[in-house]
Symmetry: C2
Subunit: 216 residues, 2 copies
DNA sequence: GGGGTTAACATTGTCGACAATCTACCTTTC
DNA sequence: GAAAGGTAGATTGTCGACAATGTTAACCCC
């Protein structure tokens, strides 16, 4: 039972704006390489350029936007090299998260929670968009349950970049069956507390993802 | 030989401000928990509050500043829990960097470059501040040579947090001998391309650092 | 036609001013 | 004397305006 009385942390406007921008980029509302025109976007969001610029600086720090002086901010364009680098970072983060759970967390509960997502994945078989969402949900849950503010924050950025990749390929991001199997194995390894197997599977999972995204 | 003709990327004002703030925080010019008063700082930096706020948003995204609405931005206060979490993230990043170097980098050259820093460390024996700087230089070089934009960006934040911890303890952060030995072993493991040993040493190195920082 | 100059336009960068909010202190009341 | 209420000061949040910069296209010259 959680108390109703808790510190009410009102989010700052720039952080709300940053969230919205992240969602928009992740869902393909801004194409890779596209310029973000401040005045237009400010009008659409119903704020002035000040707070908007502050929010955009956050995404720039994350590397989702790149700044060119006196020209503007542009959505990052994910090259194959970027995709590899992103998965390098993602694997580092998720491995650390998994390891923390296996070492001093309730890995059995976590494993079962992950398996629940895998079940949904199997149920959603055939719908690539749904499977894609569940894929991301799986990895987000894994990191969240590791209960590490820093890993979570870093992971957030990687997830947006992953979304960008998936969205760019849209219909062609297939192999839903194989992915369900990979996730099932991974969740199982965590449930049983098998460190080495988790490590290997996670690594292979990331390599497969790179392969799927870069090869085409 | 590098070409003189290269894209001239002028940094944006907010990013310059963010760099200055990071340095200031890392060197203890702003105490943990201290409020950053916009008007004062803007005057000192010779800019208006707009660009300054944009720069501060970057540090907020990194987690070096925390925002409380209508009250201001405050330098993060590193609790023992924060220290542990920071080292969890740092280990994840540096491990990935080391692994990448061992797998598809010139690990021998990297190992020698790292050993050069260890030599300086031995030469600077007795001066805790110098050893501290070299300690950080060692880890920065390791990640930089991995040549991963994302790992580098994430590592930058962790390094500032590390600096905060070292600075907070100031004179009492000792055990310079033990640290030189640890770094020497680590550099050697990389030079010889020993993946497992690198992994173990890095892990132990981080644990020791946590112990040194938290125990007091 | 190619290269260079100029001018209009669009966009970003910066600033100062005002509104909203919070804190701290003082006053009032019971 | 303690608690509630009110007030002044300081700080942050937001906005609109202006300056600086870059881009585009038309125009001119060779």
């Amino acid at each position: 039972m959680t108390s109703y009385i808790e510190p009410l942390a009102q989010e700052s406007t720039p952080s709300i704006i940053a969230d919205k921008l992240r969602k928009a980029i992740g869902h393909g509302e801004f194409r890779p390489g596209a310029q973000i025109v401040e005045a237009d976007l400010a009008r659409k969001l119903g704020v002035s350029r000040g707070p908007l610029r502050e929010g955009m600086q956050r995404l720039t720090q994350e590397g989702l936007l790149v700044s060119i002086r006196n020209r503007g901010l542009f959505v990052i364009d994910m090259t194959p090299e970027d995709i590899r680098d992103m998965y390098l970072a993602r694997e580092a983060i998720e491995r650390a998260a998994a390891l923390k759970i296996l070492r001093d967390g309730d890995f059995e509960t976590v494993g079962l929670a992950l398996l629940a997502i895998v079940d949904q994945m199997a149920a959603a078989d055939g719908d690539p968009a749904a499977v894609g969402e569940l894929d991301i949900a799986f990895h987000e849950l894994l990191v969240r349950l590791a209960d590490s503010p820093r890993l979570s924050r870093m992971h957030q950025t990687s997830i947006i970049e992953t979304r960008m990749c998936i969205h760019a390929l849209e219909e062609t991001y297939l192999a839903t069956d194989a992915r369900a199997v990979e996730h099932h194995r991974l969740a199982d390894a965590i449930r049983t507390g098998d460190v080495d197997r988790t490590d290997d599977l996670l690594s292979a999972h990331m390599d497969d993802a790179i392969e799927r995204l870069v090869s085409r």
